[in-house]
């Protein structure tokens, strides 16, 4: 990539001394920290605009190195989690990615020398990532970072796991109420270090713990002391278990594997929103030949750039209709309501389908209530509770209904309870948590209370605690009531 940057040395000392304080963050880590789209955008910004690196002191002095863009100023750190940007984005934005690339170039241009005068090479933060093949050259034409999963290593990275354990034990000893930005950023940094590979689970827990501290400090109702405390215990227990005898069993097997061809039935789509603010849409699918459920998820495109209106109703609708999936660029709206064939698809251990552009999608026909196979109407048994799996996987099923009754809104829990009643008057209790992403679905349930819904089938997903509606299917097709 051909771009230049200007160094303004207000500090007045040797630039290599400043360079030695930072660490070169690889492209792989930058992509893991954000996503490929943001990475490419950052690279484009560097090529098209003037970038200034101002040196003011020796890191970790505050503001030691600042990278200025036309629309943002980034204060550099040693890890990606320590970078901060003046723009409104709450996540790892394109400015931070661009700044990290500038710092890396700066380090290369000003190699550090140690006390003995020998040249010392700078190390990438995560040595595990060095095993990953080059993600920058998009040879496969796949724009989604889910394809690029590190190979499973046979050894547990005890240094990383112990670092997590030390950090979380520290938080547990001082108490969440006494934690601030430092703990929050350290946890986020540890999460980014773990990435989405074999340490994905513990990395994800660290990210949630970071979000808990942020929520607590901002007095957000999203902060729940019990859940946050249980999470700290779970992280420590998981770290202990990973280092223990059966550690390898707890390593994530997140890699996507080739599954060949599949015949899928779309059963609707539903939104998700995590505590840390990420949001997207998941489409529920049933593969006829395997008799298994699969999901296909997609984050909101704008979530990494904008903040306040990123997860708005409009954003969800736009994402649902966006034609950008697989080689044929189908939309989530299309696949959630149709039967289709996937040629050369990939999926991971949790049956999450990859967005690979090498996968072809051929839409077959509309899904209606009378075209649903019998197998989807069977309610799968509750799985045995698995502490390290965070409870276990969701179960999915379809239920023929004749009406929605007994609506009751629990103000304390902020949950809408209702019964999906079948023609034989068998009631299934379901619920919806009141939130901005669920508003349209709540309204749909309320508007259809007591109506004759004979001939309809409702799709549900069930966790250990609750049964939640996904969509309703009639003779006219699938109604994605979360988005309509």
């Amino acid at each position: 990539m051909d771009w230049k940057y200007i160094v303004i040395n207000e500090w007045g000392r040797d630039a290599s001394k400043a360079a030695a304080c930072f660490a070169a963050i690889s492209d792989d880590e930058l992509i893991s920290a954000a996503n490929k789209g943001t990475f490419k955008r950052a690279a484009k910004d560097l090529e098209s605009g003037e970038v200034k690196l101002t040196l003011r002191g020796e890191f970790p002095e505050k503001g030691a190195a600042e990278v200025s863009f036309a629309d943002g100023i980034v204060t550099a750190g040693k890890t990606i989690g320590e970078y901060s940007c003046s723009c409104p984005s709450k996540t790892v934005c394109r400015h931070i990615i661009g700044a990290a690339m500038v710092i890396r170039r700066f380090i290369e241009d000003n190699p550090a020398a140690d006390v003995d005068g020998q040249e010392r090479s700078t190390e990438s933060l995560s040595e595990n990532i060095s095993e990953i093949s080059d993600m920058v050259t998009d040879n496969k034409g796949n724009a989604d970072e889910e394809e690029n999963i590190p190979k499973k290593s046979s050894k547990i990275d005890e240094v990383y796991i112990n670092e997590i354990k030390r950090t979380v034990v520290g938080i547990l000893r001082k108490g969440i109420m006494n934690c601030g930005n430092i703990e929050q950023e350290t946890l986020m940094s540890l999460s980014l270090k773990g990435g989405r590979g074999e340490y994905g689970r513990i990395a994800s827990m660290c990210r949630t713990a970071s979000a808990d501290i942020e929520a607590m400090n901002s007095r957000s109702p999203a902060f729940e002391p019990l859940k946050a405390s249980l999470l700290l215990g779970r992280i420590i227990n998981t770290a202990e278990a990973l280092i223990g005898e059966h550690g390898a069993e707890l390593m994530e097997n997140e890699g996507y594997t080739d599954r060949g061809d599949g015949y899928f039935i779309g059963l609707g789509a539903y939104p998700y929103r995590s505590k840390s603010g990420f949001a997207g849409i998941t489409v529920l699918l049933y593969e006829k030949r395997l008799g298994e459920y699969f999901t296909y998820g997609c984050g909101l495109s704008d979530i990494y750039e904008k903040t306040a209106d990123a997860a708005s109703e409009e954003s969800f609708k736009k994402q649902l209709k966006r034609h950008c999936h697989w080689a044929n660029e189908v939309s989530l709206d299309m696949i959630s309501g149709n039967s289709f064939r996937l040629i050369n698809f990939k999926a991971d251990g949790k049956n999450r389908i990859s967005s690979s552009k090498q996968t072809d999608c051929i839409i077959l026909c509309k899904v209606t209530s009378d075209s649903l196979p019998e197998e989807v109407r069977i309610i799968p048994p509750v799985q045995e509770y698995d502490y390290f799996m965070g409870g276990g996987r969701e179960r999915f099923f379809v239920r023929e209904i004749s009406s929605l009754e007994d609506l009751r809104f629990d103000r304390a829990e902020q949950v809408l309870h209702f019964s999906a009643v079948s023609s034989e008057r068998v009631c299934l209790h379901a619920e919806l948590l009141h939130s901005s992403v669920n508003e349209r679905a709540e309204r749909f349930i309320e508007e259809n209370e007591g109506r004759d819904l004979s001939g309809y089938a409702m799709v549900f997903r069930a966790s250990r605690r609750a049964v939640i509606p996904v969509s309703i299917i009639g003779m006219g097709g699938v109604n994605n009531f979360f988005f309509k």
């Binding site: 108490g175 002391p225 420590i236 502490y387």
Partner: protein
């Protein structure tokens, strides 16, 4: 059992929020109370963990308290589910 789990959950929330190093007499008496409830309900493991946690606090043994706390978290989640 719900009574015992509620009490244990309250302890876990209080300890996590205020910190293992800042456990005050209120938390210690809550732990003692939880042990008594577990004994009454014949929840042996729950009682053992609560007793161990109480001892660790009384002896100011933070490292042992940390180990027991983590086990209590696991116990609480497994029993609740």
């Amino acid at each position: 059992m719900n009574r015992a789990i509620s009490q244990i959950e309250q302890i876990i929330a209080d300890i996590g929020f205020t910190g293992l190093g800042n456990a005050h007499s209120g938390i210690i008496s809550a732990v003692k109370n939880a042990a008594a409830i577990c004994r009454e309900l014949e929840m042996e493991l729950g009682e053992d963990l609560c007793n161990a946690l109480e001892c660790a606090f009384l002896e100011n043994d933070i490292e042992s308290a940390e180990v027991v706390f983590c086990r209590l978290c696991c116990y609480c989640e497994c029993v609740s589910n």
